[in-house]
């Protein structure tokens, strides 16, 4: 519990987000292009961080489905910036022991003609300690 509270503080510090500013309009989720892929949606990230439900978020695949397009950050009328929160939670998740989402060994399998190399480099940078 104390560990989760510490992680919550860490997430808030990294992201600079104040979830209390949210007025629950759901515009972030309405604008999200990855909606169908995600288990938790931008407004739920904000709400769950506010109420302290960090653990399910840290384990959720949604962290890696977020495109980081920042549309939610751009559109939020209250300046809550949910996308930054997702980024911060992902950082906390990959920084844990064994939390790497991708290793150098995984890369050859991912390479194909369709996928731009830049995307793989970015993913490698984002999903790994």
């Amino acid at each position: 519990m104390a560990d989760m509270e510490r992680k919550r503080e860490q997430i808030l510090r990294i992201s600079g987000v104040n979830p209390r500013k949210c007025m629950r309009c759901g515009k972030c989720t309405a604008t999200c292009p990855s909606y169908d892929e995600m288990e938790y949606h931008p407004h739920e990230f904000v709400y769950m961080v506010e109420t302290g439900e960090i653990e399910p978020l840290l384990k959720s695949e949604s962290l890696y489905k977020c495109l980081s397009c920042m549309a939610c950050v751009e559109r939020c009328p209250r300046g809550v910036e949910p996308g930054k929160l997702v980024e911060a939670i992902r950082l906390v998740a990959v920084r844990e022991k064994g939390g790497d989402r991708i290793t150098a060994n995984d890369i050859p399998a991912l390479l194909d003609d369709e996928m731009p190399q830049q995307a793989i480099v970015t993913a490698f940078r984002k999903y790994q300690k």
Partner: protein
Amino acid sequence: MQRIGVFVCHCGTNIAGTVDVAAVSESLGKEQGVVFSTHYQYMCSQAGQDIIKNAIAEYKLTGIVVCSCSPRMHETTFRKTAAAAGINPYMVEIANIREQCSWVHKDTISGTEKAIILGKAAVAKVNLNAPLTPGETPVTKRALVIGGGIAGIQTALDIADAGFPVDIVEKKPTIGGKMAQLDKTFPTLDCAACILTPKMVDVAQNDKIRIFSYSEVTSVKGFVGNFDVTIKRKARYVKEDVCTGCGACTEKCPQKKVPNEFNLGMDNRRAIYIPFAQAVPKVATIDPDYCMMLKTGKCGVCSKVCTAGAIDYKAKDEYVEEKYGAIVVATGFNPISMDKFDEFAYSQSKDVITSLEFERLTNAAGPTQGKLLRPSDGEHPHTIVFVQCVGSRCDSCSEKGKEYCSKICCMYTAKHAMLTRDKYPDTDVYVFYIDVRTPGKNFDEFYRRAVEEYGVHYIKGMVGKVSPEGKKLMVQASDLIAGKQLHIEADLVVLAAAIEPDKSARPLATMLTASMDTNDFFTEAHPKLRPVESPTAGVFLSGACQGPKDIPETVSQAGAAAAKVIGLLCKDKLTGNPCVAHSDEMMCNGCSTCEKVCPYGAITYVDKEFRMPDRTTRVRRVAQVNEAVCQGCGCCTVACPSGAMDLKGFAGKQIMAEVDAICR
């Protein structure tokens, strides 16, 4: 040398419970100048006031100190008592030993000690008090109303009803304002024009009311009761007193491609135009930006068809100077620009419209004669999406929107949704909301009727984006209760745009030295107790210039502002507050600092001739305070570098004497 009487009040046990009133009375009796000191159960009672009156006569008192409650409570009472006994009311000082002493202290020793100190400070001040006489100024018995919307119309009618002449200045060619553009009004659904136009006619026919349409206020000088106002009457190129409003010119004018602002640019008008059929005054106006005759000197059709001979291409702007006793601001509101909300595709698609445009689309006098048709292709829309809170309730740092709730959108959106379903049952109507806010008489019932009887789909959530695809608008939104992302193929999207004060409000506030908040809404003198007055004396507020308001609220406030104006104009003379700033001309160095800090514009500079010790004369620039305008705030006394400015009744030396008495 003053002869001071001290009167300590028990206020039942309010004061006497924590303060040893006898000890206070005894101790203050020994202060300099005090010749009489007593205490009594209720000083404000008739018996208590008689004690004061008798003591004044018996001891020939010249000053009074009452140790009692806050001066806000009974200063006026005791000043009247003193005046009745023949002492200048400004020789009375109150030591607040209740709110600032007995109520905040628990033990008698410290309470009594503090009460004595507060009493000593008051005695020290009275020793330096001088009798003050409030000045009197005459009142010009005429009111000015700036803005001719429903707020201005109602205020003007109410003032005129009391018998005072009123002038309305309206920048557009006709009065009527936003209400004239509306279709129906919530929650009773009576037609806006049906209830507004009779009032407009009343204004036109009332011989106490003059309408300066197509005019603007360009300068305001003077002060409460005596404002000097310059009004610019813009050239309309049509003689107002000759034009019969027949409309022949507006049919024959060859310049047909002028966006019609009354229909928010959704159709065109001519270069010579009457905004709408019931316009008041019903007089044509030539738009100089589009008139070929004015721009190139070639045309003159309107002048040929005008049988009354009202056209005057050589007209010039005229300036009228008038005097007024009171000014009412009724400058109203506008919807904010939707240009920055790219996600809703307002600038990409004609079928994304604001709610005010929707009003015109459903209005029988609008561009579609009241048929709800898509602006792009004139087809009947089957799926309509309403988006609430567009630009309202935004973050304070937002560059696009406003922080406040615009208040009227929930109700007009419910109205639009309900009327659409009523007239076109084959339409699907969605309303995306964050919260539905419907406080008001019969308001929530109205909204529930839209949902329960008319089957409007109210969805808790916001629209994320609108993308035009072919003839459709793809709306992507969230349904927070179902936990779904919705994709709706809409034919028409209506944005409930936030409202903001009219752009003319800020320069006007500067002219009036009336204060505004960060959103450019006029500030009221007290948010609860003086809601229709500006802090600037003689300036009153009516309608949405003070904050977002619907029609019922606007009309109530308009009437309240009128009542305040009538109260002012009823007086033959105004008694000022004598505690005003005063400049010592011998010390004034003419630096203008006080003039710059004065929030009321009460200070002016004059060149004055002074006689020098060697019998020569010298002209010096010195500050002069207009006592009728000065509110006694004291800004100038602090700002004055030479110490020439002082506040009567609160002079620097009086305050210092109080401080000295406390520290002694």
